[in-house]
């Protein structure tokens, strides 16, 4: 039996569909446990990705990892789960380690592929500079899946949704305020990312980055110095000390490519580097390079993307 935890407070994220698909791929009957306010119709769609049943506790807001741990452990016990799958997002990072201790089940944190034939699972180590293969020694295992590591696959029909309650206990964490900028694609889930660094010379020049991102349907990101001097918000900072991402396409303008920046983006499938300095170390990690001034190249690229999009309809 496989149990998948998803957070559905803001609907079904791509990361949620990926974890359900992952559960289906590792085999067996997949039960999903979730909390929050997504409608039963929405949750029933998880059946199309391989779930045979969804259990939802609407009394749990998901803000206290200890409550989620109690909820998931109770369900895992009830259905006799041998594997529990999370997304390696804020929930996976906060709840999966707790559950590992509670269930005495080994945790594979940040899995990037389905298990190998020997049962070991590939993860990034050394901040993405290498990969390791983790094997769990216990009968039960917990896996947190790095977002964008596999694609959601539709394989079945809608499934049943059942309301549950009474497992989670009370919350020890009181939320005073939530600050969330509206309408942006969450960076860790974005498939396309446009990023820029100090080469842009000032925050007033970010309009062209946003224009390109909008033309592509991409999220925006930035390098560490740019977040440190306050040109862009900290949650956009990708790199070793910021967010680690693995989009399909990462476009970097005016970023030299320090090793700490690369550590956050070298899981990207395709990297495009735009820089005036032909010696910029980032070109060594790039698939496509453009030596040129971002102020000329980016608007030109945006126009080219728009022309391309126009031919696609």
């Amino acid at each position: 039996m496989v149990l998948v935890y998803i957070n559905s407070t803001t609907g079904l994220s791509k990361a949620a569909l990926e974890t359900v698909t992952y559960g289906k791929k590792i085999g067996g009957d997949v039960t999903v446990v979730t909390n929050g306010s997504a409608s039963s119709e929405q949750l029933a769609q998880l059946g199309q990705y391989g779930a045979s049943k969804v259990l939802v506790d609407r009394s749990v807001d998901g803000e206290d990892p200890q409550q989620l741990t109690r909820l998931i452990a109770a369900v895992a016990d009830q259905i006799g789960a041998s594997s529990v799958i999370f997304s390696h997002d804020i929930y996976g990072k906060a709840v999966a380690p707790r559950l590992s201790v509670r269930m005495k089940a080994g945790l594979v944190a940040g899995a990037i592929a389905i298990p190998e034939s020997d049962g070991s699972i590939k993860v990034n180590v050394f901040s993405g500079k290498a990969v390791g293969f983790v094997k769990v020694a216990s009968d039960k295992q917990i896996i947190s899946l790095l977002p964008n590591s596999i694609q959601p696959e539709q394989s079945g029909n809608s499934c049943s949704v059942e309301e549950i309650s009474g497992h989670a206990g009370s919350s020890a964490i009181r939320v005073l305020e939530t600050k969330k900028p509206e309408g942006n694609i969450p960076l860790p889930e974005a498939e396309l990312v446009v990023s820029a660094g100090r080469g842009l010379k000032g925050p007033e020049n970010w309009g062209m980055i946003e224009d390109l991102a909008q033309a592509l349907g991409a999220a925006t990101a930035c390098s560490r110095p740019v977040a440190d001097i306050g040109w862009r918000p900290h949650h956009e900072h990708v790199g070793q000390t910021g967010v680690a991402i693995r989009p399909n396409l990462y476009i970097a303008a005016g970023i030299s490519g320090a090793i700490q920046h690369l550590a956050g983006v070298n899981g990207s499938k395709v990297i495009v580097v735009i820089n005036t300095d032909k010696e910029a170390p980032f070109f060594k990690a790039a698939d496509y390079g453009v030596i040129g001034d971002a102020f000329e190249v980016i608007p030109r690229l945006t126009e080219a993307v728009k022309r391309f999009k126009a031919t696609q309809h």
């Binding site: 803000e63 990072k93 080994g106 945790l107 180590v125 050394f126 983790v134 769990v136 020890a172 969450p186």
Partner: protein, 246 residues
């Protein structure tokens, strides 16, 4: 406030990453170990700031061998009051967390702090595991932390934003960027560190729950394809037809 800060060693960020013994072991040849930056810059420094503003005591703990005493002295030089080394060469986050939880349970710390992850294994596991083993609340990826009496007010990362939360001590907090600024130890701190108490305690018997069976370097990128800056239509065509990402 009585604070425990968990520290781990990590290879210097500029270390060459290589593996030996048929790719089953990290090659430590020529590798310089440092205090894991998240543990040092954010958890330890914020703990010291709290002590400076409201009083208390800061203890650091690491699970490691005699080789790790250099990073312990570094943390003491930055300002921790005392150190504990649990004597083992750990292979698994669960092992580490169980050792620290077992030590901390008996000591009555108000606050246990960790970095958000180590920069070598990046698992983000130990803090949450300690919290569960001690049956305490856990606030992960905190970017701000203030204390008043038995109340902690924190800012933590959430998907696409931040959240301000409140929790009663005792609690476990994992610390991310924003929490504090790096402190460079001064000569007085370095001298004082030599005489600060370091207690070595034996590890308890705990079976690992997981292990790394092998490592690999990621596939090297084939050489970069340069595009004429005046021809962005070509780049878009390549991204569509060749790379198939748009």
């Amino acid at each position: 406030m009585n604070i425990l800060v968990c520290i781990s060693k990590a290879p210097d960020t500029t270390s060459k990453i290589a593996f030996t013994n048929n790719n089953t072991q990290f090659d430590e040849n020529g590798v310089q170990y440092i205090v894991n930056p998240y543990d040092e810059w954010y958890a330890l420094v914020r703990a010291l700031e709290l002590k400076e503003s409201i009083g208390g005591n800061v203890t650091i703990v690491t699970v490691g061998t005699t080789a790790d005493e250099a990073i312990i002295r570094k943390a003491l030089a930055i300002g921790a009051d005392e150190a504990v080394r649990i004597d083992a060469d750990p292979k698994d986050a669960y092992f580490v967390a169980m050792q620290i939880a077992s030590f901390a349970k008996a000591k009555g710390f108000d606050l246990v702090m960790t970095g958000k992850e180590t920069i070598n294994y990046n698992g983000s596991q130990v803090g949450g595991m300690i919290a569960e083993a001690m049956d305490l609340p856990f606030i992960s990826l905190a970017t701000k932390l203030d204390a008043s009496g038995t109340k902690l007010t924190l800012e933590r990362e959430i998907v696409g934003g931040v959240q301000v939360v409140e929790v009663e001590t005792p609690a476990v907090v994992s610390c991310a960027k924003g929490m504090a600024e790096q402190r460079i130890p001064n000569m007085r701190g370095i001298m004082a560190a030599r005489t600060k108490p370091l207690t070595i305690i034996p590890a308890e018997e705990v079976a690992d729950l997981s292990s790394y069976v092998s490592y690999n370097m990621p596939n090297a990128k084939s050489s970069v394809k340069m595009i004429d800056p005046s021809n962005m239509d070509e780049l878009v065509a390549l991204l569509h037809n060749e790379a198939k990402v748009i």
